[in-house]
Subunit: 478 residues, 2 copies
């Protein structure tokens, strides 16, 4: 079987029937990654996947620039003694870290760990960098590889052991300034998610599930089509917890020395996992136009006698679209059109532009949307504008469809009798830890937390029946 | 002492008097990195340094795109058994690798090493990726962190244990096609070096110093101001050495299965080290305009009564320059101009633009070059063009001065009597390994190799006196 034939065998799994297997199959078939690397949980970013991730990183970098964060890069290796300074933190991660114990043929005097996240690498330096109030706020970020020896089943982009990771770390004069930062982070998430056509909800995680060392943790959850939620981002208020452990202090105008208040913001390649899961279908993935490495693929229909002129015109069209800032490629391979359609649909290119001899005669091009295969005949003259409009409309509709699924996937429950719960459950909660755990255990779900934006709720705790001040959100999670 | 005062204390070391200490001091004072991370050989990329390195990476990415390479990202961790498949390679690196032996509280069944370079991570996958002649050439690259437990004295950017690394790997049908790739790599180096204003020479390393597993190795050496050479790039012809070990084969049109021929191309953060060393002076670093995060700093001279109008005009100037695609910042801090000059000179911003009340009246701006402090009064109307011209001219002159130093630093020797050799020595060599080693030992230098471009040479071997077919180049090296 040739590569082209192999490529054209349909997906073995259907999204609606077996989401998990469909996902596992499609990430490779769309050439986002190669999972055959011989170490569990470590995958290879192949060119197309890496380009897509780089586009997501690019959006994040721009957002960070616009909000006054500086990009840095800290070492991967953290010495054991620095790591152990914050007791809660080490407890939270000690089962998940990789240890470097030997180098150059000898045992190391001080063991080094591969960062699972960079608090313990950065904060000893922050205590040197921050001296006076004039140094605050300190806002930095990095996009790096981090490592977590996670024993759960691995899954491309969603649960891997080497993680492509974004982490922002900030220091502030006081709690309120750190709170402002958290509101800014939430706005960044909103703008990023809009570009990914990715609806989400922000929850304040229950105390028993907050980040090790945090005062409180917010998380952005996406509802995946199989009814489980995927945490794609976290925002933590550390208060002065880490500042105490790492002695990060500043001098006030009056000469007084105070501990800083800190926040962090983390996201990862899970963003790409969410995009694949939300938008893909049985023909392949579907990339939001803002992150698609190729937004438009031109497929010239090469009838024998008109081959030259059609190719020439297709080239002109490509030049025009590129000049307008669009990412375009042309597929002039000697293959039947169907094989090309299959190829580019699998890779989620949002828009296909066809041009045949008759279109040329009629001064038209054909636009075919990847999401619904809608075909539009568009006058050649207004082509660039129409391509843009179609991409914009498509992005809006992708986001709209996903938001409708999310909304429809959240439902109220008033008792703990649920068969195979799916989606996000909303339940009255008195706020007691015991009741929270009982909900989790009896429903077989995790508590996502309470809504970050205070919401009106009047009801009773589904466990103890006491008046519930808030609603708890619960789901099976990735 | 405030930060501003601290910043204005002159450098403790002069470049001409103690290059090493000057270098060590300036990399931190120019805010390229922070060396206080508590693990030897691991430094922190602070924002300004990381931005500069990212600019260099950007040039490399463009070059790779233009020459048909795809960017990928392989895992950091390599399993011991894969690593051991190529005998020469393991021998060359076994003393330098970091070993991950534990994870999640347990010893690992298969030990993992941190890649010192990625041959052994990639080539098992190449044997899956390459199947037919249609898959060739395969051209990929990645920009990642690699690790070498180097026991020599560490030095920022030049000798570190976590290295910011570029590596391109290619597979070809035959030796000649691989040779073509090497010629392409050499052209890439030329274009990159021009943008870094960094003269260099390419040598074919002697057999005893080629890359472990290579058929032959080329290296790009820069002559640093202290008379030692710095290897900033390497290009290797592997022939089918690795293909044999990792079974990377393709099917020819006729059905025959053949081993691929491979090449690699490596560069690292040493490029930045070379830039710092070549162009810096006792006032700070000097960044080539193509990679300077800030190409022009505007310093408005804020006399009391004209403060508002001058600031407004300076803002307009910044907008105009930015619109023209230049990277510009304005320093409107409430500091005396001298402090600002000092600050930006230290950070190597190529051009300073001053604007005071009198300049405004006379419809002029003042341009001051960072390299020679030459001042030019430029009519406001032609400002953008003049800024560009000045930057271009400065880059040419920076390259020219460095090239003159390199040329002047290469000299012929005809005997092995040399007191404290400095610069690059050229000596007749019969080609025998023993004579090569004797040159190295008696002169206290390393052999860089022979010129890659065949050069005319007639003379005698400086060791045995036999006719020399070639000249050997020798130097003390980093």
């Amino acid at each position: 079987m040739t590569k082209v034939e192999e490529e054209q065998t349909p997906l073995r799994h259907k999204k609606a029937e077996d989401f998990n297997e469909w996902y596992n199959e499609i990430v490779e078939k769309a050439e986002l990654c190669d999972k055959r690397y011989p170490v569990k949980g470590l995958n290879i970013w192949t060119a197309y996947g890496w380009k897509t991730m780089a586009a997501i990183d690019g959006i994040i970098r721009n957002e960070m620039g616009d909000t006054g964060h500086s990009e840095v890069c800290f070492p991967l290796l953290v010495p054991e003694d620095q790591f152990k300074k914050e007791a809660d933190h080490i407890k939270g991660f000690s089962d998940e870290v990789y240890w470097v114990t030997r180098a150059g043929g000898n045992d190391l005097d001080v063991k080094l760990l591969l960062r699972p996240t960079s608090e313990t690498a950065m904060y000893p330096m922050f205590s040197l960098w921050v001296r006076s109030h004039a140094d605050l706020p300190l806002k930095i970020f990095q996009i790096v590889n981090v490592f977590r020896f996670d024993t759960k089943q691995t899954r491309a982009f969603i649960r891997v052991r080497e993680i492509h990771f974004f982490e922002a770390h900030t220091c502030h004069r006081d709690f309120e300034d750190a709170e402002k930062q958290i509101r800014e982070d939430i706005e960044v998430m909103a703008r990023l998610a809009a570009k990914l056509c990715m609806p989400y909800r922000i929850f304040k995680r229950p105390d028993w599930d907050k980040f090790p060392g945090a005062f409180y943790s917010l998380a952005c959850d996406v509802l995946m089509p199989d009814g489980r939620t995927l945490q794609v981002g976290t925002i933590h208020q550390y208060k002065d917890n880490f500042a105490k452990a790492y002695d990060v202090k500043y001098e006030e105008e009056g000469g007084e020395h105070k501990l800083v208040h800190q926040t962090t913001y983390g996201m990862s390649e899970r963003l790409l996992g969410a995009v694949v899961g939300l938008h893909g279908d049985d023909n392949g993935i579907l990339l939001p136009p803002d992150i698609a490495p190729i937004q438009v693929v031109i497929v010239p229909i090469l009838a024998k006698d008109m081959k030259g002129p059609v190719l020439e015109e297709a080239q002109k069209i490509m030049d025009e679209l590129r000049k307008a800032g669009l990412r375009v490629t042309m597929d002039a391979r000697d293959l039947r059109p169907g094989a090309k359609y299959y190829h580019w649909e699998m890779r989620g290119v949002p828009l296909r532009l066809e041009l045949g001899p008759r279109d040329m005669k009629e001064n038209k091009v054909v636009l075919i949307r990847r999401d619904n295969r809608q075909k539009a005949f568009v006058p050649r003259a207004g082509m660039v504008g129409e391509v843009r409009r179609t991409l914009d409309l498509m992005a809006l509709e992708m986001a709209g469809r996903s938001e409708a699924l999310l909304k429809g996937g959240i439902r109220d429950i008033t008792s703990l009798v649920e068969e195979a719960p799916t989606g996000i459950l909303r339940a009255g909660w008195c706020g007691a830890t015991a009741c929270g755990h009982e909900m989790e255990d009896r429903l077989g779900v995790k508590m996502l937390g309470t809504s970050y934006d205070k919401e009106e709720y009047s009801g009773k705790c589904v466990v103890c029946g006491k008046p519930a001040q808030e609603a708890a959100y619960l789901a099976r999670t990735y």
